[in-house]
């Protein structure tokens, strides 16, 4: 078995008096799609946030590609999130005043890619996601599914090594959610992007190579999936 790209050992994270993670262990190998499941309040989103370097853990170790995230300062973690990670959230990640093309080009511009090249790349990603005619639309003028596809394009446009998706279909109907998941996982596999997918929906989790369950702040169950049955 190849060495994990990301691993976490004994991660503890609390918010005030409320513990969210109580010693979570998990590992993700390169190119793998891992679904993190669990009921509401179990700590699955917190685990994703810790793995992505959004939150430093209170205790425990987290590593990405041999670099200890738990020992990095915020500036370095921010840079890592911008250059190596991509994110898709449930909703609201798009800037409302920007067009779809602007939103996709934004992380590239932040990475100092030249304007023309950034918009070219944005156009290509939008085309791959079937949004070639929506590039100049404001996000408020897009449907929920289209907005999520723009978010996927934005997350993948920077060429991330890991894609973190937190309930990416949570605000979509099942049919639209299915299309988004098809695209998301399909592109991730095509690009060789590792993916950590947080969901409480078993049908979404079925798109993953492997599933873990978080319960009471611990990763309590591990099982192999590989059915890719998805929402069908």
């Amino acid at each position: 078995m190849s060495s994990p790209l990301i691993w976490a050992r004994g991660v503890v994270k609390s918010f005030g008096q409320t513990p969210a993670l109580r010693g979570a262990d998990v590992q993700v190998t390169a190119g793998e799609i891992l679904a993190v499941m669990g009921p509401s309040g179990s700590g699955k989103s917190t685990l994703l946030h810790c793995l992505a370097g959004i939150f430093p853990p209170d205790e425990g170790e987290i590593s990405f590609d041999g670099q200890r995230l738990d020992q990095m300062d915020e500036t370095r973690r921010t840079e890592l999130r911008r250059t190596a990670f991509g994110f898709v959230f449930q909703f609201g990640q798009l800037v409302p005043e920007l067009t779809a093309a602007d939103n996709v080009a934004l992380p590239l511009l932040l990475g100092r890619v030249r304007r023309k090249a950034a918009y070219q790349a944005a156009g290509q990603w939008l085309a791959r996601l079937g949004l070639e005619d929506k590039g100049d639309r404001r996000t408020g003028e897009l449907s929920g599914g289209e907005a999520q596809r723009v978010a996927v394009a934005r997350a993948l446009a920077v060429g991330p090594r890991v894609l973190f998706a937190d309930e990416p279909t949570g605000s979509l109907d099942s049919l639209t959610g299915e299309k988004v998941m098809d695209l998301l996982t399909g592109l991730a596999r095509e690009q060789g992007v590792t993916m950590v997918l947080v969901t409480h929906d078993a049908r979404v989790a079925a798109y993953a190579d492997r599933q873990v369950v978080v319960r009471d702040g611990r990763v309590t169950a591990l099982e192999t999936s590989g059915t890719h049955g998805g929402l069908r």
Binding site: A52, I54, T83, V95, L98, A105, L109
Partner: protein
Amino acid sequence: MIRLGLRLTLHSGREAFTRLLLTTVAVALGVAVLLGVFAEFHAFQADANRSCWECTQGAPVPKALGNSAPRALGSRGELWNYSVDYFEGRTIERLDVAALGPGAPVPPGVSRLPGPGQYVVSPALAALLRTVPAGELGDRFPGLLAGTIGDAALSSPDELAVYVGYQPAALAAVPGTQLVTAIGTAPGPEVFTPFFRYAFGVGVLAVLFPVLILIGTATRLAAARREERFAALRLAGATPRDISVIAAVDSVISALAGTILGIGVFLVARPWLAGAQLTGTRYFSLEVTPTVWGYLAMLVAVPAASAVASLLALRRVRISPLGVSRRTSPPPPSAWRLLTLGIGLVLFVVGLLATTKKSIGTPAYPGLLIVMIGLVIAGPWFTATVARWCAGVLGGPSPLLATRRLEDNPKAAFRAVRGLVLAVFLGTIAGSLIPTIDALSLTPSSAALSGVLLDTFSLPGPNGFGPGLTPQDGATLVSELRGLDGATVYPLYLLPQATDPNYQGQYVGVVSCSMLRDLAVLGRCAPGVQAVQADDSNLTYSDNPHYSTEAFVSPANPGYSGRLAALPLQAVLVRVNGPATLERVRTFLAGHARPQVSTAPGVDPTPPRTFGEAIAIRSSRATVFERLVYFAVALTILVAGCSLAVAIGGGLTDRKRPFTLLRVSGTPVRALYRVLLLEAVLPLAAATLVAAGLAYGMSVLAVTQMAPPGTPVPQLSHVYFVTMGAGLAIALIVIGVTLPLLNRMTGPDHVRFE
């Protein structure tokens, strides 16, 4: 529903409380500024409406009454001689008065008239008398100081006034004395009052707009978050009407709290305002206050206006139980918005082309007004254009985010700086035209004579020139003046025939050529000539130093070979070597030179003053106007900065989620700082530059068309740049205060709650 609204406003957590606090502070600032403007206007009006005892008119005192005057005049009324004098550039109002009987009317500020040999003075003059040597001031008033004039006679605590008591016979012999039986109680003539009222009107408008915008912006703070809450209430069963009530309650609470706080802030700042001398006059502090109705209007109007603004804001969105949907974005402002501005500019130029030396072309005035209206209409177009231009030029993610937001709703972005455009426009007009107007008076000649005092003894009238001082009196006066240290005296003589009503000659006076050698700017004689006849009427009677200091003698002037000492004395010019000498000369003249009286309506005697003082007096009104406009500009920039800051805070709350998620995705916080700064600075800078550039261009056009040839292009003074720079710096600081909010509101910790 009102109770629910109250509970939601006051007990909805930290974010709602912060919003309430920010709104309250913003409204308080706006209310305090408005109250300050109203208070200053109230003081100005109270002063303008004050009884003008100085305007009292009486009957002429029959001549040659001599010692029989009291009996001939009876025992009703009093003898009254009002004049003005100067001390260190300040005006002294002087009333020489003699009661003719026990029932003589008493002027305001005293309980009885000063007796012969007594005088009473205003507190400010009393303070000067205590510190200034008598030879420079006190000796102008014969007798003993017997009391103080009360506030009722004064327009300002700094006013210098004196009532001097005389025996009737003595005062009757003084030229200009009148018989008065009733003291005037009507307000004074409105010579400059309409001017200042207009200036105040402009100032109030310039300040009012941004303050109302600030209040409006503040009450709509974080509208999107609030609207989400309203959607949740709709889901819970609230009707649209219920939502309106809750929104109105929310706005009224913060506006009312802000109004009360604003009144408190104003009351704390009132003593400072009373001493600020915005119109060049320090008003009595009791008058620097809005009326009771002003306070009540604030307490009612501001919350009511906030409620209306809040309800109007609700109309822009559709709040359903399933969430909030915004009405479609308005189309971008079209270039048609420039039409009004263009019409105004054309009218202004047409007016200037029709301008003569005597009057400004009629279309120029509406042209100026329409340009100001046009600027406000064209503002969103300018904002969108500048945003588009910057998006193309600047590149990078921060300009992209900022300019897209500005382009998305340029009206909202411009709203915060709309008042600023008017204030900067007026400020630039004032800042470029007023120094030019002043410079027209301050010619090299007037500058050369700035330390030279003029006292005139013969005024023109329908029956020729007044007689001036007799040769004997004139010689004595000149001789005694020359005895004062630091004073160099130049007599100007009167041609005897000029006092003849039928005199048609070109020349009025006679001047010695030795005087012209010392005061070369006034001209020169032909070689070998001792004295010349000259038309010196501009020098002695014009109150505009631009003309009064023009050369009036050339070698072509006919010589005068008679004995100068045998001529009546028309005037004296006295060069002084410092302020103390100037006041000693003036004090001497007050006691020894016969006062002049008006010889015809509009021909009023001018007290002895230097040409430098004449320039200062002429420019003081313009300076006050300039100061008022600058004050309005500084205030407006500050208020606009606050509006922008509030708008930024609101916009930040509305975009908390996307900004937080951008940060989570690795966007450095400094990139988002730049977004906020650009969103604030771009409209601020664009509005300032467009308004200033247009106003300066129009000023240059006006000067080119109206000023004499050779007048330099208007230069903006350092005061202008300091005012603008300080205002913008303070506005940026206020905006900068909001930036830490970004770090706190969009920190990665917040992603957990998104």
